[in-house]
Structures are given as C-alpha cells and as structure tokens.
Symmetry: C2
C-alpha cells in the first residue's frame, strides 16, 4: 500500500474537492456544443500540468484531447475518458446543474449535485488530482500514460470511433486501457464489469404515402373517417415488435446471442448475496421489475438478453388544449442493446424484414448509431489488478459479466486488440436524469483506488508475463 501517497491525498483533499467542483461548473453539452471548446482546453491543461505533452485535436465534430506522459516506466496504459455531458434541461433539479453545490443526501452524506458528477466529469477531474498527488509524493508514476479524452460520448462517440482506427500508431505502445469511473452502486457495493453491451440506435418513421395518409402536411382531424393516420400506423407496427408481455417479437433479432460464460455465471451465483436489487428500485423510484424472479435470475435478465427500447415517440399536435389534427407523420426513436455475439447489421436486417413481412414496408428506418458489444477477459492483468485493488481497500467487488449500457470499448478490443477495464471506488448516480450526484467521500476513495491500481498493474502484468 502506498501509504505516503494515500496520506498526501487525504491531507490535500479539500483542494482536490474544489478542483472537481470547478471542473463540473464548466458546462460541456454534446448536443448543443455549449462549453465544449473550453472544456477540451481544460482537459489539455490538466495533462500538461502533470508534465505531459497534450493537444486538442479538431475533428468533424467535437475535438478530442490526446496526450502522452512518459514516466520512463516499463509499461504503458491508455487512459480513456470523455469530457462531454448530457443536456440538463429536464425538470426536477433541486440545485442548478452547473453550480456543483454540495448537499447532504440521506444515507450518502455530503454529495455534489451536478450534471456530469458521475458521468463522467467527476471521475475525470478526480483522476487527474490523484495523479497529481502521486507525482507530488513520488515524483514519477509507476506506468506511462497515453491519454485520449473525447467530447461526443453522449452522442455516440462518432469522432472517437473514426479517429482511433485511423491513428492506431498513436496508441501502439499501450498494452491495456483504463476507464476510471465511480464503480460503487446505490448500496456502495463495488463492482467490476467484464464488457459492455452493443447498441443500435435508430428511428422508425411512418408517413403518408401510397398506402394512404396525408403525404405532405397534417390535415383536419375530422377526416379520420376517410384518411388513414400515420400515428396509428406507427402504433400498429410497434405493437407487432414487442408483445404485451414485453417480449421481443422481431424474428432473428437475437440471433447469435450466447449465454453468459460458465465461469462468470458461477461467479455471479457465488456472489448472490451481494446482488441486492431493491436499492436499484428505490434509487430509480420503480415499484417492480418487468420480469418475475429473484437473485441471479433477475440479473441475468439485465446482462444476458437484448432489449428493444422506445427512447422517444412523437407525432402530430403535442401542445396544450385540443387542436384536432390528422398528422402526416409519426416517429419513434428506439435502441437495441446487443449482447455477445449479436451483430448490429444483422439486427438492422431483422427489424427491416420484420416490418416488411408485417406489411409495413413503407415505414422508414434510419440508423443513427451503432456500437459493437465488447468483452473483457476475467484473467486479463487489468482485470486482476483492479480486483486486487478493491480487495486491498476492503471491498469484495460484485463481478458483472457485462455493462448493460454501451460505450465504444469495442474500439479497444476490435481495433487496437488490447483489453480494457472500467473501475474505481466512489459512488454517484442519476446519470441522464435530474439531480445527478456523486458523494464527497467517494471522490477520496476513488483517488486512493486509482493510485493503488497504477501500482498494482505493472506487478500483476509482470507476474502474468512471467508465468507464461
């Protein structure tokens, strides 16, 4: 245990906390571009302050920040993160989303309320403070670092996904990837995820055409006796895709899906006592799951099955009062979360075929984004180093076979051919919702876990190399 570094982090924590809050006060909203340029520059500065060489790289979208910090170490890790956040325009914020105010939350104690507190500017700022602390005590980090911090994660990492394949040489000496994150859940249970689901995000649009319906504009609702309604058509099409029991009815959508590997399923079973789900329901204000079941079976629903979600739906008159209208189009935004070994192009084809076979060939499908799933081997040194870190800090992590969310980690696995790990102590929640938060205590715990991981990794990797 690097006690000297940990003491330093504890003593200097007030300044670190203020630095994290300061970073959270800078908006950086993907969708509007607000604060994007300013925030990219702040990240570049954070790398430079550590003595690294960093630059802001323009792209067709929001810029990437790339940097290198050569510490003369034997091994090099790639630090990946993002500096953008979701919009904060939903109702229900009890504090301004970019004020980073500290509120005393029940159970969690003092916590920062801010957009980005957990996803992901809180961990990002805290990681740099941890590195700074380590260097202040020891002079040099135990690994070299390459940094890549993107600004479009919340819009599908479009620039990042193109940049890495086109510039593999910038990442050639990295042997694994670290994505630092607050990985303690609502009950402060630490967890470790061994992959991420893939995502296919698309729109379906029904509009008037040869089949009927008004083709160029909404018409008076009184003509519903004569004229078909694209909103009804979209409803009918959607109702063929998911049954009343919530099961996906799109034939072939789940083709290729494999069960959770036996070793991971075994690990989940052994950890069943850790797998509390009530805290999830409480945290998200949900009365019941959509499936019956208990324990590991419930978790398997989240990890092992694809989903077909409605993200948004709209059409016609959505204002106040009673405008009568027969709209000419209606649209739904949907996403499919894919488990190994589903492939997005196959899912697209399955949905298109389903619509066609059910008589909805006129409904237009537009793919807005797709990510492949990715998996991290349990035996990879980054995984084992993170497990050791948690254990050293007194946490028995819950190992999850996959993250039900999506992230562009397939780029590391499929393009760079290196494993990656998401990890860190710390707790925050309500990402993508109002009152996103992270706990103050969690920031310090996170910093400790990061410096410990950076020491553990070269040892675990060397042992693994030696045993081969």
């Amino acid at each position: 245990m690097p006690d000297d570094v940990i003491s330093y982090l504890e003593q200097n924590f007030p300044a670190d906390l203020e630095a994290v809050r300061e970073f959270l006060r800078q908006p950086s909203i993907s969708y509007t571009g607000e604060g994007i340029a300013e925030t990219a520059e702040l990240v570049r500065q954070m790398i430079a302050d550590l003595g690294g060489a960093a630059r802001v790289i323009p792209t067709a979208g929001h810029p990437l920040v790339y940097g290198r910090l050569d510490e003369g170490a034997e091994r090099t890790l790639l630090y990946y993160s993002m500096y953008d956040v979701m919009p904060a325009d939903e109702p229900g914020w009890s504090a301004p989303p970019f004020a980073a105010e500290i509120r005393d939350l029940p159970f969690y104690g003092p916590s920062i309320i801010a957009r980005g507190a957990v996803n992901t500017k809180g961990p990002t700022a805290a990681f740099f403070r941890a590195l700074r602390g380590y260097k202040a005590v020891r002079g040099k980090l135990p690994v070299n670092l390459i940094f890549v911090v993107e600004g479009e994660e919340e819009m599908g990492s479009r620039q990042f996904n193109r940049f890495v394949p086109a510039h593999k040489e910038l990442f050639a000496d990295a042997e694994a990837v670290l994505f630092p994150f607050f990985e303690q859940d609502e009950q402060l249970q630490a967890f470790l995820t061994l992959g991420t689901k893939g995502i296919l995000y698309f729109e379906l649009k029904a509009r008037g055409g040869d089949w009927g319906g008004p083709r160029s504009r909404g018409i008076h609702g009184c003509f519903a006796g004569w004229v078909a309604n694209p909103a009804w058509r979209l409803v009918q099409a959607l109702s063929t895709m998911v049954g009343p029991d919530d099961r996906i009815l799109v034939e072939g959508l789940a083709d290729g899906a494999v069960p959770i590997p036996a070793a991971e399923r075994q690990l989940m079973q052994e950890q069943a006592d850790l797998y509390g789900t009530q805290s999830f329901l409480d945290a998200y204000d949900i009365k019941r799951f959509k499936w019956p079941g208990e324990g590991v079976d419930v978790w398997e629903k989240l990890f092992a099955e694809p989903t077909l979600n409605i993200d948004g739906i709209w059409g016609g008159y959505t204002g106040p009062e009673t405008k009568t209208l027969l709209p000419h189009e209606a649209t739904v935004k949907m996403d499919v979360r894919m488990v190994p070994n589903m492939e997005p192009d196959h899912v697209v084809a399955a949905i298109r075929n389903h619509l066609d076979r059910h008589g909805f060939a006129d409904i237009e499908m537009t793919v807005l984004n797709k990510y492949y799933w990715s998996k991290v081997p349990l035996e990879a040194p980054v995984t084992q180093a993170m497990l050791r870190t948690y254990e050293q800090l007194g946490h028995r992590p819950q190992v999850q076979p996959i993250n039900p969310g999506s992230a562009p980690y397939w780029v590391f696995e499929r393009v760079l051919g290196i494993p990656y790990i998401t990890g860190g102590l710390g707790h925050g929640s309500r990402q993508h919702s109002s009152d996103e938060y992270c706990t103050v205590q969690g920031i310090l715990d996170f910093e400790k876990s990061m410096v410990l991981f950076l020491e553990n990794y070269p040892q675990v990797a060397a042992a693994a190399a030696g045993s081969r």
Copy 2:
C-alpha cells in the same frame, strides 16, 4: 333577386376585399391569446358601424362579442361566428400567415393566403361588408339580427358553451341561427350540411406506477432489460383500440349510432354525380382513402361512422441524435367524432371500460372537451331558404347529412331549441394547415349569397307558417 344590392356589391367590391384582408392581418390566436382583445374590439366595431348595439363581454377565457341590430323587421335571426384562429406555426407557408397577400393559385385564380382566410375570419369580415352594402342601398335589412361572436372556437368554445345556457334571455327572440361560411369545396361545388358530428377530445397517459416503469423521471435506457417502459405500454394499449384494418375495437364506443335518415340517404344517392372525391384527395395530397368503395358508400364512411383519431402522441426524448432514455410517461391526444345518437359520456365510459378490461386500468384518461352532435331538419325554413339561395345563384348544392367536423351547434339545438344553418357561396381550404386560403371571387359570391339569403328567409318562413 335584389339586383340593386348585387350591383352595389359588385361596384364596391375592391373596398370590401381590402376590408377582409385588413381583418385577416390582425392575428387572433386562441392558444396564445395573441391579438384576441384587439380582434374582439374590431368585431364590436363592425356591429356598431351597422348601427347595432354591441359590447365585448369578458369571460373566464377570451371575450364574447354580443350585439343586436333591430331593423323593425318581423323576424329575427341569430348570427353566430368566431373571431379566433388556429396557431400558424406549422412549416410550409409560402406567404406570411398574417399578411393576407394575394396569390394567383392554379385553378382558383387570385386568392388570399392567410390564417383565418376560410376558418373563419374571411367569411366573418365579408358578411359584415355584405350587410353594409345592403343597408347602403336599402336602408334596412329584411331581418333583425342578434350577433354572438366567440373567441375560443378553436379551443372548444368553452366560454360560449357556458354563456348561452346562462343567458338564454339574450337570444329569446331569435327563431333560427345563421353561421355564414364559404361552403364551396375544392371543385367549387356548393354544399349544405344538415348537422355536425359531436366530438370527445381526451388524453391518455401511461406513466410508471404499481404495474412497473419509472415513476418520477426518465431513466437510462440501458435498464430496459429490467424496467417496463410507459411508451411501450401506451403503444400496447392503443393497439387494442384500433385494429390493423383501421376498425375501432372499443366495445360499445358506437352505441346509439343510427344510420343516415332515409330521406337524406336518398338525396345523397340522387346527387351521386356531384360527389367527386378525387378533388379531396388532390387538395390534401392523399393517395387513397382508408376504405375501399366508391360514390355514396365512400361518403357514408365520412358521415355515418364515428372515428377514433390520434391527434398527437409524445413521450421520452424527441430531440436530435441519440439520447438513450427509458421515459416515465407517454401521452396521446385523441378525439372521437360522434354521429347521432351517440352520447359523449357513454363514449368516455366505453373507452375507460375497454382500457380496464384489457389490463390498462393504470392508464389515465383526461377529457379535455366534448360537444354533442346536432342535426338540422331538411324541412326547416333556414334550410329551405339556403337551398333556394344557392339555386337562385345557379348552384345545385350537394346536401350532406352531417359535417364531419364539430362545432358547438348543439347549444342552439339543445339549449335554445332553434334550428341553425351553415351556408354561403365562396371557397377556401387548408384550414388548420399551412397556406390556408380563400379565393377573391368567392368573397364576392359569398356576399351575394348572404344578402339573398336574408331576403329569402322571411319569405320561406312566412310560407311555412302559413301552410301549417
């Protein structure tokens, strides 16, 4: 034929046209309140300019304009109209909606493009100019008039529907109601409608609750494997209400509906050659009707059956790009158009029962408006006087058993106990859409038909009284 009056109208038409355009340039949008007070005052002034006594009557919503014009005549008609219009915020306007520019339209020739051109400020302004012309030539009108002009027709006539029952004495001497309107269709075919459908306008809202789903805010879309989605629930509920063949599946919804009276059906059959529907399809840019069939059968679909329309639907993320969200609620605005003798409260109960029986007791139903249907007897003097007017002006009107739209005419029939007629030559279209218009020629034709009707009515009424 009052040739002197008609000559006067023709000679003075340029000034009348400018007066109509001037009135259309004054916005009067129900939903926003923009220009409502100003427009009510303009209407009051128009009555006063004829020598009538008029006042703007405040209500809990937009004011009503009420007036009386005593011409010392034997008979008194009630003039009903509205001074409010729909919003004009939809895309697709080729001229500013409140500029009342004149454009040369294919087939129709010079026409005014403006919100309200046909519905209903165009006819309203032209009616007052016709009265002015009549009085300029003859000194006095052949009937006394009571005026009531409301400002919330596009929001469901809520104030009007309360005001009339509470102030019956203000209408006691009216023996029938005239609602002047441009009643020539896209082929310039005149028509006469013998009633209006009723409307029930309501919202259905699915939100997270005991059944599942997030209860207080949208959550990250990745949890779709665990958490039910209110948007899917709304889709499932809607799909039980209307079949893929567009037939209404809500049991009991159409209870009470009676066929079109035999005499009216006979009239429709005789007029089958007048009943072109292609012009409707062309005008509204629609490729096909939702039902197969031809001639009178097609019209019967519009007149004799209730409809269940989706006016608008929304829920979740509806912005650009790919925000992943599992929304906590989804809402649909719907309307049922009721034919005689359906009753709105029965329809509400049928829908509620349907949802409950299909397992959707949690879906909330909010009634926003309801109108009863109304019918006008073919033999009523106002009907016969309007028929005679059209014939005298060389038009063989198409008689329609009911207007598929809705209007608060049940107030006349059920509260005041007097018949009403909607009528007038003239053509306009695209109401509630972009590029609403009325033809310039139609305004003059309308003025002529109105002065003729005012002469015809007392004669027809006297003959009917004598024959009793």
